[in-house]
């Protein structure tokens, strides 16, 4: 795709019980949002290995969203707390190596929050669009390979 009609690629890694169902609700309610997001469904955000996020960037994602149940509402009691901790650390790490924090976002979206899902997706898409295409991963990766 040429520079002029570039569209950001967003990967959303979500849990099955809250956010995936919330996104279903947005659909059932015929709410509209930007078509840039591709959803990866996991049973729980606790299943998210930070390497998934890295892999998404490697495969050309310009932004990644992680979303699950609100604190206390996890279908599996505490998976989202593990996810939150990992995500916090991982975002700091990405920030440290020079990836803009806007590219890795986190939001709680419950099964009844179809409207919030729409707002979150539009928000993430706009924020990433403002940042432009993400080429940082390739740069970091080259450096890493060079070191080896």
């Amino acid at each position: 795709m040429s520079e002029s009609n570039w569209e950001p690629k967003i990967v959303a890694i979500v849990c099955n019980w809250c956010t995936y169902t919330g996104a279903d609700l947005a659909g059932t309610s015929r709410m509209k949002y930007q078509p840039n997001v591709r959803i990866i469904k996991l049973p729980c955000t606790g299943r998210i290995d930070p390497v998934f996020i890295l892999k998404a960037f490697e495969r050309g994602a310009d932004g990644v969203l992680v979303s699950g149940c609100h604190p206390g509402d996890c279908h599996y009691n505490a998976g989202n707390f593990h996810a939150r901790r990992r995500w916090m650390l991982f975002r700091d790490l990405l920030d440290f190596v020079g990836i803009e924090p806007e590219r890795l976002q986190f939001s709680w979206v419950s099964a009844s929050e179809g409207r919030k899902w729409v707002d979150v997706i539009n928000g993430v898409t706009d924020a990433v669009r403002a940042r432009g295409p993400f080429t940082g991963y390739q740069a970091i990766n080259k450096e890493f390979v060079a070191h080896e």
């Binding site: 078509p35 591709r38 996991l42 599996y76």
Partner: protein, 665 residues
């Protein structure tokens, strides 16, 4: 690999925004795809036959159905696969409807996205393994949480079908809000007369174990195999010894506590039975009020009790019950319209003066005033001076349908109960005047509209369409200022009493209980059903069902119908000895496991066990983690935690997810 891709138009639902034929064409080119077909309704019989025939004729090793959300039809298509000999877990769904066609408008962009979604699913399904369902036994015993009319109905239905029920009620007596009502619309049946026989039936039923004054503390396990810990709050009365003679209640010198049952319109002693027909008819000591607990003196109740049933030392006790299905029937509370704390998002109705003016009351308080068992024995008397009010104003939608000060939803029952209140008032005070301020009259239901017409036409209740802006006292009366929007002019009524039809809202501890049970709830705190139309009594946690107003505002017939529905869902579960569980559980690779047991630390279900691996001579080689598939719920937190990548969540393995991400483009 031989993968088949089946793209559904869902009539026009997908086809309108996604070029399904183009998706089918593009997907036919994907590596491994040997069959790519688009069809109008994939879930229909002919649609499923396309898939079934292809599995048999083309020897498919994986199927991707691009259709609606997997929450809708994943089961349907998995069954289609297993019908023709393909392991059902070799079927993946690409969500083209809820996540694509319904939320986008641009056809080329939606079509591109659809192709991406299918490609991701194809890459995943190539790496899916054949899984066999896990079978677990079913404990045929139900827990009902909440002893209002919904909980009572559900408990009786399950028990009458021949299964044991544990009924937990947080108050000292079952009966709920229905026991407080005077008469019920639209038949004007006496509420207690129809309810109390049911309460007694619960108490005497050989298969119902009633735990009153108790709360659910902890829920472990899963459908068919819950372990529920219940806190039996200290009653300070030994239930087994107490005969319910009531002598202690009579003799208690502390008689100044506001009665919860009478909505604060009467006083009760420190040791009390909430109301005369309470079930169980055993008193409880309110330790915050009791002189003995406050000062260590008194103890009269203990002295007068002939059965030595008073136990001041009693502590909360915990009991554990094995349960197969849980029915949640925790009901509602009324929105308290008095002043709200400043940080509250809900502003309340300070201008109506509820809580400040004694004769501005809510609907439940009016029920007590109108009730034959109430503080004025059924005669209409206003709280401040016990005089008969000659002019009463009823205000509807206080807190309901009001985004600015209350809740956006309609509480559904207020139109009816206000008509009933006005009618009861007119029946008892013949020369009185009743005014109703309303926004709309919503009287959908059998004989409901007729009931409201009766209030207006036969009993002469004056209905005014409009809102009330302010209420203030003046010379023993209350000036109600409002607007008659049909006449287009302001209106002022000098009322003796004002009754506010306040919103039905979720119980104060609804969210806390939801978290204990693992039940999702909406923004108002009402419990969330799986599907608003087709699965209205189930929640996303299998084995838990909803009944009554804990799900949304409801009247009695609806709550009862829902309770019977929830009971029948529990009975469906009890109809089989074993149930199948999704085999998407964690599995340990014993060869690479280093036995660090990080997985055990993050597991919320105690599903990780320690396994010793020994050689032929019995020498310990190493200790590894092992998953108990009966306990594992398949969240996958262990999978993400394992440093040596030795534990995998079947169905969501690293390989599958990396393949999905790699397929992004």
């Amino acid at each position: 690999m031989k993968i088949g891709v089946y793209i559904c138009y869902c009539g026009e639902n997908i086809g309108r925004t996604v070029d399904c034929a183009a998706v089918a064409k593009a997907c036919a080119e994907l590596p491994g795809v040997v069959d790519s077909v688009d069809y109008k309704y994939m879930c229909s019989d002919p649609g499923q036959n396309i898939i079934k025939n292809a599995i048999r004729e083309k020897g498919l090793q994986g199927v991707v159905v691009a259709s609606c959300s997997p929450h809708m039809h994943e089961k349907t298509f998995r069954r289609a696969c297993s019908d023709s000999g393909l392991n059902p877990f070799l079927c993946e769904i690409a969500n083209l409807r809820e996540h694509c066609s319904w939320v986008h408008e641009d056809v080329p962009a939606a079509t591109r996205k659809a192709i991406d979604l299918v490609r991701m699913a194809v890459e995943k399904v190539k790496r899916n393994g054949e899984l066999e369902p896990i079978r677990v036994p079913v404990t045929k015993r139900a827990l009902v949480v909440g002893g209002g009319i919904a909980g009572i109905q559900a408990a009786l239905d399950v028990a009458n079908a021949g299964f044991e029920v544990v009924l937990v009620e947080k108050e000292p007596s079952i009966g709920g809000h229905m026991s407080q009502l005077s008469e019920t619309f639209p038949t004007l049946d006496c509420s207690q007369c129809i309810l109390t026989p049911r309460m007694v039936e619960v108490y005497q039923h050989p298969r119902i174990k009633l735990l009153s004054y108790s709360e659910v503390e902890k829920v472990e396990g899963f459908i068919g195999n819950f372990k529920v810990t219940i806190r039996r709050k200290a009653r300070s009365v030994i239930e087994e010894r107490c005969t319910g003679c009531g002598l202690c209640v009579q003799k208690c010198p502390t008689k100044k506590a506001p009665s919860e049952f009478e909505q604060g319109l009467a006083k009760r002693p420190a040791i009390y039975v909430p109301f005369p027909q309470a079930v169980p008819n055993k008193p409880v000591i309110d330790r915050n009020v009791c002189t003995h607990f406050r000062t260590g003196k008194c103890g009269i109740c203990k002295k007068v009790c002939g059965r030595d049933a008073i136990d001041f030392e009693q502590q909360d006790q915990f009991v554990t019950e094995d349960i197969g299905a849980i029915i949640v029937a925790t009901g509602y509370q009324l929105y308290s319209i008095s002043k709200k704390p400043d940080d509250s998002a809900i502003k309340g109705y300070g201008e109506y003066g509820y809580g400040k003016y004694p004769d501005v009351i809510d609907g439940l308080q009016f029920e007590r005033i109108a009730s034959a068992s109430g503080p004025s024995s059924g005669e209409i008397r206003r709280p401040s001076d016990q005089k008969e009010p000659k002019k009463v104003v009823f205000i509807q939608c206080v807190g309901s349908r009001d985004e600015a000060k209350g809740f956006t939803y309609c509480s559904k029952i207020c139109c009816m109960y206000t008509a009933k209140h006005a009618m009861l008032y007119k029946h008892k005070v013949h020369d009185g005047e009743a005014y109703v301020f309303y926004m709309d009259i919503r009287a959908g239901g059998k004989m409901y509209e007729e009931f409201v017409r009766r209030a207006i036409e036969e009993d002469g209740v004056k209905y005014i369409r409009g809102r009330v802006s302010r209420i203030y006292p003046s010379g023993g009366k209350y000036i109600v200022k409002g607007e008659d929007t049909l006449a287009g002019e302001p209106i002022e009524i000098d009322a003796d009493m004002v009754v506010l039809a306040t919103a039905m809202i979720a119980q104060p501890n609804a969210q806390k209980l939801a978290q204990v049970l693992g039940v999702p709830y909406d923004g108002y705190g009402f419990y969330q059903e799986v599907h608003p139309k087709l699965r209205p009594v189930e929640v996303s946690t299998a084995g838990i069902f909803l009944a009554g107003a804990c799900q949304s505002p409801k009247d009695i017939p609806e709550a009862v119908a829902m309770a019977s529905a929830a009971a029948s869902k529990a009975l469906v579960l009890f109809g089989s000895d074993q149930l199948e569980r999704e085999p998407t559980v964690a599995k340990v690779n014993e060869a690479t496991c280093i036995g660090c047991f990080y997985c055990q630390k993050v597991c919320a279900y105690n599903a990780i066990e320690v396994k010793e691996i020994r050689d032929r001579k019995g020498n310990l080689v190493k200790t590894v983690a092992s998953v108990n598939p009966g306990l594992c719920q398949g969240c996958g937190t262990c999978n993400a935690t394992c440093p040596s990548k030795s534990i995998e969540l079947l169905g969501y393995t690293d390989e599958q997810i990396f393949a999905e991400i790699t397929a992004l483009g």
